[in-house]
Symmetry: C3
Subunit: 480 residues, 3 copies
């Protein structure tokens, strides 16, 4: 049973002909627009060497994508069978190393993704990028694997060539605050025109409760050549690192917080807690307050150096401790919790939210905060913007709910437009294509109900596609 | 670029012709029905003198409407540029006083409201009330200003004439519990037939933690000619005031609460806390309990005197302290917080919720409580009704979510129908028109899916438009 | 005014012809499929005697259904007027005993249910099961009562015959953990082929804070012939009971919890708390921990004996104490509260959630947890499945929200398909018909938007209708 894989050109649009025709027109107007990708998780090294080649379809598509393999795990497929390496494999558990076998297993369970964005993205990649003609099933798995594998070995499928083919104009990676950014340096030195910029991810320095924190402070000392023994030196080192990131093109920072609580500490208090943290003697309550204060500092530094501040809120990391201990982080067991922004962000917004020099972009996994908290906050504070629907919510219904629950209160112009958060290079055009279609359809509904005019919709789809992300992430200069 | 401003007669209806035709029929059946407005924030003084004239378009439309100018503020327009007065302007900051300039600024940023109810309402006002022919843009701003300004100076645009033109049958204002209601008295004495009734807003007496509270107690003493030194005198004075409001036509009270916690105190306890509050020595916990008890008292008094009890829940007032200190309250920085009703209202509902003499109308800004708490509660307790989608949620999607999340559980008849909460007189017909369209469209969908019959829908749209608000706010007598 | 009662064959489908035609095709493919009902509240005794006859329409349809009469109560109809018995009627309050009068009252208030699933289900029962030709109104009430009453006295309307006519293949009841299951035994002994299986409902043993708990422990002792003085004996008795239920066909257990908090206690700790509970000296905090530990035990026992574990979460029982004291439990005053699963279920999921032998089915009344917590959790943990939209949410919009908020993240295959939770036998086909229609329409939308193919939809509707419930409730063996 080989079913043809055909992407209907009208896919995802309303069937109502009046809506659909407008949607098609709007979509066509941005379909081929360049891609701006100011936040995501692509590895920069793939762009260093112009001859870099992806190893095989499995390592390109499945292995880096915990969002895919968690679904197979939920139905009882062991992660070992999907090639996920065991951290300390002392008992010599067999981990599947054959990429074809992993691909085959994945194909057999691909039906689990029916109606999910993962299926939509992957079908786009298969059809549009790799020219695959048949749907991925257990019967077609190997044939498709081989088609992709062959292509990956050709010049046209090297990362730099794909970057161009996908019309990417800018791609931001996510990089640890202590990173030397060697790959970014190398890309720059290579003379290639592609714009791969880093993002200052501060988690490793701010999560003082995590085991590796002290080590990270050593790394920070090392990389800044500063002897960090005090809070003020710590902040100074962060400022220095931000400046280094900025020198390599960074326009933004990022932090993941479980709860976005903010509170300002006095300098002596901050010094005291930092010193306690270094001694490993900080209490849970003090940890919370120290981290709350660090969000204040990051906002202050952003006003100073102009870097955009991103907050990714509410993901309870490594919920499944068995998986975490066996396989490490990012294995599909990060689960959202309830969020609260009105009270938690109050200190920060009161101190810095009225300052236009700050851009604070908030991402949430708790959709109940859209209409209740984020839209009213962003509809008032000059500094605040609402980030694109994130992670699980970067989906057809998720994007629609975002629009329907936020725009009537916050307006479109207090959001960032589409931001992809991709983990694999080939998923980037797939994600942007889906977002452009859903945006077009949302606008087409507004037009066909006479809420906005078609002219206005034509402007708004451009805003969503590139104007808003460029503004929110302050990319004008780097793109000009 | 002057774009025509045309309100499509089919606007906001589904494009599906089967739904749309039914929607049109239902809408037509109530389009010209009188307006019942049992809750809102129109100033009563505009009706005292039959020759009252609105000063200019800016003071009619923009200045009283923080819901509008907060959006410009969110994009960096200072409130000073919008004519919002600074409380203690010791440093002589320039506040724009030229209404034309403010109007021009507003017009330049009007694109921010694309797809929001503010745009829909304002377009209705411009086109239907003022006969404006072009869309509001920076190019047309002054021309439109002048059209409106000229009209405002004519007799037809005096408030009493607009009241008639809009077919308003009843308009309730919101008035401080200590108000002399002089304007309401004056309206009555003027012999004009318009029904402008007050609403007893109890916040100033109940918020014992606010700075002005003691002063409000003095005012209460003064206005009731009672010497209020004890809790029992306090309650007696409230009873007396409620009775005064009632004598001027009031059928309802209103309270804004951050958290709708209810708890009954013993008389001695209440006396003790009241005495502490007077001495300024009440703790935070005691404040919460005192206020929780006041909700119980208000319910008890409502059973006594028949006044409907409204609760507006969950708005964190003056979230932005910089703006609050500089410009005062109601400047667009009230932000919702998470709500909980099941446990919080338990004491009140257990004591008074089974009593049909009480009507308790609850408004929420937390839509996650619609299907989870409010619909099940209202679907059981005889006293409880769910108020119309409030504030940010009085929008196309907001009204739709309200219907879709509440009616299947609570039924239509445990809601209040449409209540406008308007801040400007000319927005009232705009808001009712939008609500009637959305109600018609909602019902048309039910009819076209064979969930209800067209006959039933015809009844339901009348219920939504006037029967339910009249019943919920006990307006039969005053309207007959 | 006698309006014809006609069920449009296209009811509940989108009016868009492209969607509707696909929906019809999909619906037709499962319309006559057998009914699997693995969770509900039908009394088993009605199947014991093949000549069992329902008393009258009122006792069949209204009296057992608090979901119906709570709506009349919310509009001021006293429960006495609906025949709800008063527990200790010392003051001789009149309780209506005439079923025709109750039916008449119900009919007069039937308009309250406009647009609700109750109306949809009841209309189906009237038209499809009883052949009623007119809508239920105060005018037609008695006529319709008599039609139904006459039919109930005929052979075709005896429960076993209805079971067959409805094509029920399996019906699970809900039974107290200490029940002798005498009716289930009797049904088996009668030789009838109908599959009526019990479900082990553990609440009475786990809710150690409830007044009757100690008595329930005595009952447990009695029925297991074990002398239960210790925690380990208690667990042993539960194991024994589960095994007895299993021997009579049970494949599942069920627990209702207000908050799904889980925590493992050490054996000595559990023993201590159990002993305290027996002495009535357990604190509130200890009660919470004991119950949290019992959820762990239930999961552990499920892994042992293979019984599926159901959790019905978040219903605050008997919220209205006046009604509870006067009429007892299940009188329409159970109100949902906010839920939290990510942290609460962590201990259980960490210990047992990776074990495929466990199936844990979670039901929630807090829809904000769908996309935020339940879908991500079920999309990761092999043991977890999300139960069908429950109670208030078993409605057209409720089912749609469930699909739209869950499937994109968890996939269809981490849900249970449709589970009815019916309280009356005749509502079962009504509920399944509605669910099949909504499922068909949901899938038709996906097909018409080219998200899935029609072939895939054909499979998915079968999965929803019977494959998923059979798998989730482990019914393969009993059905073969």
């Amino acid at each position: 049973m080989k079913e043809k894989l055909i992407l209907n050109p009208r896919r995802f649009f309303d069937t109502d002909i009046k809506v659909r025709d407008i949607a098609i027109e709007l979509y066509e107007s941005v379909k081929d627009s360049p891609i701006i990708s100011p936040h995501g998780h692509i590895e920069p090294q793939i762009f260093v060497d112009e001859n870099y080649t992806f190893k095989n379809p499995t390592e390109l598509i499945i292995t880096p994508n915990h969002y895919l393999y968690r679904m197979l795990y939920s139905q009882g497929v062991p992660l070992e069978a999907l090639g996920i390496p065991i951290l300390h494999n002392s008992s010599k558990i067999k981990v599947e190393m054959n990429p074809k076998k992993i691909w085959q297993t994945f194909a057999e369970y691909f039906y689990l993704f029916r109606g999910t964005p993962s299926e939509i993205w992957l079908n786009y990649e298969l059809a549009e990028i790799f020219g695959v003609k048949y749907k991925l099933t257990k019967e077609t798995a190997i044939e498709i694997y081989e088609v992709i594998d062959r292509k990956l070995k050709t010049d046209e499928f090297k990362p730099r060539r794909l970057y161009e083919r996908f019309k990417i104009k800018l791609l931001a990676t996510t990089d640890d605050a202590t990173s030397t950014l060697q790959h970014h340096v190398a890309i720059r030195n290579s003379g290639w025109h592609g714009k791969i910029i880093p993002t200052f991810r501060a988690d490793s320095l701010i999560n003082i409760e995590s085991k590796g924190w002290k080590e990270n402070i050593y790394k920070l000392s090392e990389v800044t050549k500063m002897d960090i023994r005090s809070y003020s030196q710590f902040i100074e080192a962060i400022r220095e690192r931000r400046s280094y990131f900025k020198s390599l093109g960074a326009t933004a920072t990022d932090i993941a917080v479980l709860i976005p609580y903010t509170e300002e500490l006095s300098k002596p208090e901050a010094e005291k807690l930092f010193s306690k943290a270094l001694k490993g003697k900080i209490s849970e309550r003090e940890t919370i307050r120290f981290k709350a204060n660090m969000l204040m500092e990051m906002a202050r530094l952003s006003i100073e150096d102009g870097l955009v501040m991103q907050l990714h809120c509410g993901s309870y990391r490594n919920h499944n401790e068995i998986i975490y201990k066996k396989f490490g982080p990012d294995r599909g067991c990060d689960i959202p919790i309830q969020m609260e922004f009105t009270k938690n962000l109050k200190a920060l917004l009161n101190k810095y939210g009225n300052d236009k020099r700050l851009t604070l972009i908030v991402f949430t996994l708790d959709e109940s905060t859209y209409s209740r908290e984020l839209a009213p906050l962003a509809g008032h504070y000059p500094a605040l913007k609402i980030g694109s629907p994130w992670w699980f919510h970067d989906s057809i219904n998720g994007m629609m709910r975002f629009k329907e629950q936020i725009i009537e209160t916050a307006g479109l112009y207090n959001t960032t437009g589409f931001v992809d958060d991709a983990r694999t290079l080939t998923s980037i055009p797939a994600r942007h294509d889906l977002a452009r279609r859903i945006d077009a359809n949302w606008l087409a509904r507004l037009v066909s109900k006479h809420i906005i005019s078609k002219n206005t919709a034509r402007e708004m789809i451009k805003d969503l596609t590139y104007k808003l992300p460029i503004e929110a992430y302050k990319l004008h200069k780097i793109l000009s």
